[in-house]
């Protein structure tokens, strides 16, 4: 089986954060329904991995898996990675222009000017505070809703959650050396540049469970400051490995002559 297998880990981030569990809030899919994967689109996916071996017993194929986490109710993953930064810059520029206009218009403070200032402040949105712990990926960014509009402190319920991040894959399948997972970096913008991949040893059939550690981010407000707090949750899945001998497709046995009819002679353009 030379082709790679993708497992989509779709997380309902809002509900998972609210109930502090991935159970019932995770939907798993893979592209191997044809080969026997079960429970697609639920949290109970069993990924079928059909191994094969040559007649002499040597392993003919192994399987490569890729896990792709997605978030339900966020900015679509197909939007370029710099989109939130770009949106934040646009709102900054707009606010500056409006401030300039306001400054030129009124030299004396007035109720009107104050209302106008308030309006500008709201349209400018809120930046997430950078702490030592949260420096990096989402720090200093503005909070954006699923439509790409910046949101203000009092409307953070509409915030688009950052995509879930798989931080570890472990459990029975890993401990019994059925699969060898590792995290890779890639220039792929859809998966945010990081993904987990594993090679599966298909020579030992059986059903093996494994666990994924998934990091979500919760928007919290303390002392008027907003922060994305990491929340680590786990989610279980399983691999069902079978293994069968490869076979000659023409003869269903050993190698033989090609089944070319000796009587017929299909010539080109005949």
């Amino acid at each position: 089986m030379p082709q790679q297998l993708a497992i989509i880990v779709l997380v309902d981030v809002g509900n998972a954060l609210a109930s502090s569990t991935l159970e019932g809030n995770t939907y798993l899919f893979d592209n191997m329904k044809l080969h026997g994967s079960e429970n697609q689109g639920t949290g109970e996916l069993v990924t079928a991995i059909n191994g094969s071996y040559w007649r002499d017993g040597s392993q003919a194929s192994e399987q490569v898996l890729n896990w792709l986490p997605y978030s339900l109710g966020s900015i679509p993953p197909t939007v370029p990675r710099g989109y939130e930064v770009e949106r934040a810059r646009q709102t900054d520029e707009q606010a500056l222009a409006e401030l300039q206009e306001l400054a030129a218009k009124s030299t004396v403070p007035s109720a009107d000017a104050e209302a106008e200032l308030n309006r500008i402040r709201r349209s400018v949105g809120t930046r997430v505070k950078t702490t030592r712990r949260t420096r990096g990926r989402m720090s200093g960014q503005k909070i954006v809703d699923v439509t790409g509009q910046v949101v203000t402190e009092d409307a953070t319920a509409a915030a688009s959650y950052p995509a879930p991040v798989i931080t570890d894959i472990y459990g029975e399948a890993v401990e019994s050396k059925i699969m060898y997972p590792a995290e890779y970096g890639s220039p792929d913008m859809v998966t945010d540049g990081w993904y987990w991949s594993a090679t599966v040893d298909t020579s030992r059939p059986g059903t093996y469970s494994y666990m994924m550690r998934v990091q979500l981010h919760k928007l919290v407000q303390t002392n008027g400051e907003l922060r994305w707090d990491p929340v680590n949750l786990t989610c279980a899945s399983a691999l069902k490995i079978t293994s069968e001998p490869r076979r000659n497709a023409f003869t269903k046995a050993g190698i033989g002559p090609l089944p070319i009819p000796s009587t017929a002679r299909p010539g080109r353009g005949a």
Partner: protein
Amino acid sequence: MKTQVNIIAVVDVIGALSVKTLLDGNLCMVDDGAFDSAHQGTADLITVVKPGQVVSWTALALDLQTPVEIKNISFEPANGHNGAAASGPAMSPPGAHRTTNGGAHGQAHGQGQAHGQGQEESEGDKLDLDVWTGVVPHWMTPGVPYQYRLELQMYEGSNSVMSIDSPALMCQ
């Protein structure tokens, strides 16, 4: 002389499923034969071989994550097709296709049938276990292209099996 000739059918599965044909560049066949195979990189590949050589077919998906497998390869006469035109979703399931051809082609034909009838075939039934390999028989007439039908299974569904009749094997 090489003992084995490999033929790889590279399939743009998304392209093929979108326009429902393996033509228009959705199928690209290449071999590594030592002789002058014609039409490399097209669906009309004529692989030049010698009797006794082993020919091996492999399908490869352009999109790494869409399963594509060879469903069947058959050397039956082009039965109304003239070979130049080809493709589209297979008109009938391969099993039915075989029975319409009857058993008129002797023992060699029977071997070809084994694939369709020896077992209950469901869509994509462990096709990944199949190794499409065979020896070039000595009874082929040199210089004559023997066209074959290549059937590909692309995941599942009503249009998932497509075939092409234009590639051929030719003895030197």
